[in-house]
């Protein structure tokens, strides 16, 4: 049985947990500022690029991508967490279908990441980026689909993880490479050819590239490198594949 009431309460629970754990809220706001101060100001001293975009502005889309990436993966780790602490069983024995649980987890992960993305866009002036209403609407849409794609990827991974120890491995071998190969810290064009393959299967690359399309209209080596249409298509296709894989894997394993 597919139940909207159940989806509502699964999402509500994740939000309650998020806002109750003050530290997660503080990290959401502090992390981008720390990156801005440490990475942004440090690198902009040694990196001197021609064009109208400064390095400080350049890393904003990257930090939005990073925040969504970390938040989405982390929110699906709650599935492993729930399994470890038994709460998952409470959901598994309820008269709701597995797809209800998957939908609830996808929606809550997406919404939480989107929320953090919006907070970042509100902090954009600190990066020297000023966002118009239209840009905000575009960013909202893009951040939503990127959040969904990574949440679905996370849920797919989480359906395999039997314990929280596996989470460290995922952080080191999946999440960090996805971040570094995403064009967040340096343009994709600067990467050697053999690493390019990875950037093409990385939804974060397309996401950050799309963010750059929306946020930067200037010229120079730090602007978007791919076509905007390709970015959006790639993210949507990746989301669809991941949602199907995650649902299938979750239903089969539980």
């Amino acid at each position: 049985m597919f139940s909207y009431k159940a989806i509502y309460v699964i999402v509500l629970r994740e939000f309650k947990r998020f806002f109750r754990q003050r530290i997660r809220l503080i990290v959401t706001i502090a992390r981008p500022l720390i990156w801005l101060i440490i990475v942004g100001s440090g690198f902009s001293k040694i990196i001197n690029v021609p064009g109208e975009i400064s390095y400080k502005q350049f890393i904003l889309p990257g930090i939005v991508g990073m925040t969504i990436l970390f938040s989405s993966i982390f929110s699906t780790i709650t599935v492993v967490w729930d399994r470890e602490f038994g709460f998952l069983r409470e959901m598994l024995v309820a008269p709701i279908s597995r797809s209800t649980i998957v939908t609830g987890k996808l929606l809550s992960g997406t919404a939480l990441s989107l929320f953090q993305g919006v907070v970042l866009i509100l902090l954009a002036p600190f990066f020297g980026v000023y966002v118009s209403a239209l840009q905000f609407v575009w960013m909202f849409f893009l951040m939503a689909i990127v959040s969904l794609s990574i949440t679905a990827l996370g849920l797919f991974i989480a359906s395999f993880l039997k314990s929280l120890e596996g989470f460290n491995i995922i952080m080191n071998f999946v999440v960090l490479p996805m971040f570094f190969l995403s064009g967040a810290l340096y343009p994709l064009g600067t990467l050697p050819a053999y690493l390019h393959i990875f950037t093409f299967v990385n939804p974060v690359s397309y996401g950050i590239d799309a963010f750059k399309h929306v946020l930067f209209h200037d010229t120079g080596p730090l602007i978007a490198e791919l076509s905007f249409t390709l970015d959006i298509l790639a993210i949507i296709v990746f989301s669809m594949i991941m949602v199907i894989l995650a649902s299938y894997s979750f239903e089969r394993r539980e």
């Binding site: 049985m1 139940s3 009431k5 159940a6 509502y8 309460v9 629970r13 309650k16 947990r17 109750r20 754990q21 399994r83 470890e84 602490f85 038994g86 709460f87 998952l88 069983r89 409470e90 959901m91 598994l92 024995v93 309820a94 008269p95 709701i96 279908s97 039997k162 314990s163």
Partner: protein
């Protein structure tokens, strides 16, 4: 009417047969104890009944619904309290119950009202808005029982409900379960490996190595054991053993401290030995048969023999599934 019916249930994991052809029925409104050592197949059976696991063969029905074909109806008919707690520690008692009510598709107003009732019942009403993390083990268990009952199930499954609780809390939980049964006429299906707790059930089934070895009410099962056991300490145990054989035709066993033998109606037998043994009796101890003795009688082993061991089959299975 049978609210639970299991017919020739089998479950095989790779090469291990966890449940090997189990059949029994539970009547509506009774408390049914499912007893056996760790690894005997209790948890596997309960997981099949609550639709978390598909059997290899055989059938299971709860409240008239097929556990394989009508899982959703079965789930709506049952409440569960697991061995390990399945509460969200970060939420309040109220929020945990509300979550449950919505998962079971209850109306908003009905949920609120039922939560109040249930919290009242388990005496946690004053802790309604406290985070569950701050609760003691007994309080958590009570909250879980309240949650299991929130959607008014027909059957409440309790998997080792008193495991890991101190004796006082254990007895509280038990009193509470019994009052529930009296008041609401709810059917209770529980597993335990504490034999003294099993005595409090209306009927029990004993499972060992994946097979039911006995089923009936505790008194019935105990009456199958011939007689009571009498433990005697005398000044001269060797002579006492000899005289018991000659005068009463009883085979007594020597223990390190005294001797032990079984007779029918032990309480009536004790006065008779006083006059007829030529050695002085130092102490007499009469023991009525317990379910422990039933288990010992049926399997030749004590149930705690393997409870002290490291886990057993079902635990190994659980670990693998996680």
């Amino acid at each position: 009417m049978s609210i639970i019916r299991i017919v020739d249930l089998m479950k095989r994991y790779d090469s291990i047969e966890a449940v090997r052809g189990v059949s029994f029925e539970v009547k509506e409104g009774e408390s049914f104890g499912f007893i056996g050592p760790n690894g005997a197949g209790k948890t596997t059976t309960i997981n099949i009944l609550c639709t978390l696991l598909r059997p290899t063969s055989g059938r299971a029905f709860v409240n008239g619904y097929d556990c394989m074909q009508e899982a959703s109806n079965v789930r709506a008919s049952i409440g569960l309290v697991f061995q390990e707690t399945t509460l969200d520690n970060e939420l309040t008692a109220y929020e945990n119950l509300k979550f449950h009510g919505y998962l079971y598709n209850m109306d908003k107003r009905k949920v609120e009202q039922r939560i109040d009732e249930m919290l009242e019942l388990v005496m946690l009403h004053d802790r309604k808005d406290d985070i569950v993390k701050t609760f003691s083990g007994g309080m958590k268990r009570r909250l879980e029982i309240a949650r299991g009952l929130l959607h008014k199930p027909k059957v409440l499954f309790l998997d080792e409900p008193t495991l890991g609780l101190d004796p006082q809390t254990r007895s509280n939980v038990w009193n509470f379960i019994e009052s529930l049964k009296r008041k609401d006429g709810i059917t209770i299906f529980m597993t335990t490996h504490y034999m003294d707790e099993a005595e409090r059930c209306d009927r029990i089934a004993i499972i060992d190595h994946g097979k039911i070895i006995a089923c009936g009410c505790p008194e019935e099962l105990k009456s199958e054991i011939k007689g009571d056991s009498i433990h005697l300490e005398t000044e001269d145990d060797e002579r006492a053993v000899l005289e018991l054989r000659e005068k009463f035709n009883i085979d007594a066993r020597r223990l390190s401290n005294g001797l032990i033998f079984n007779v029918d109606k032990g309480d009536a037998f004790i006065p008779r030995i006083f006059g007829r043994l030529s050695t002085n009796i130092l102490s007499v101890n009469l023991k009525k048969p317990s379910l422990d003795d039933v288990f010992l009688h049926l399997t030749g082993r004590e149930i705690r023999d393997y409870n002290d061991g490291n886990g057993g089959m079902a635990d190994a299975m659980r670990r693998r599934r996680r």
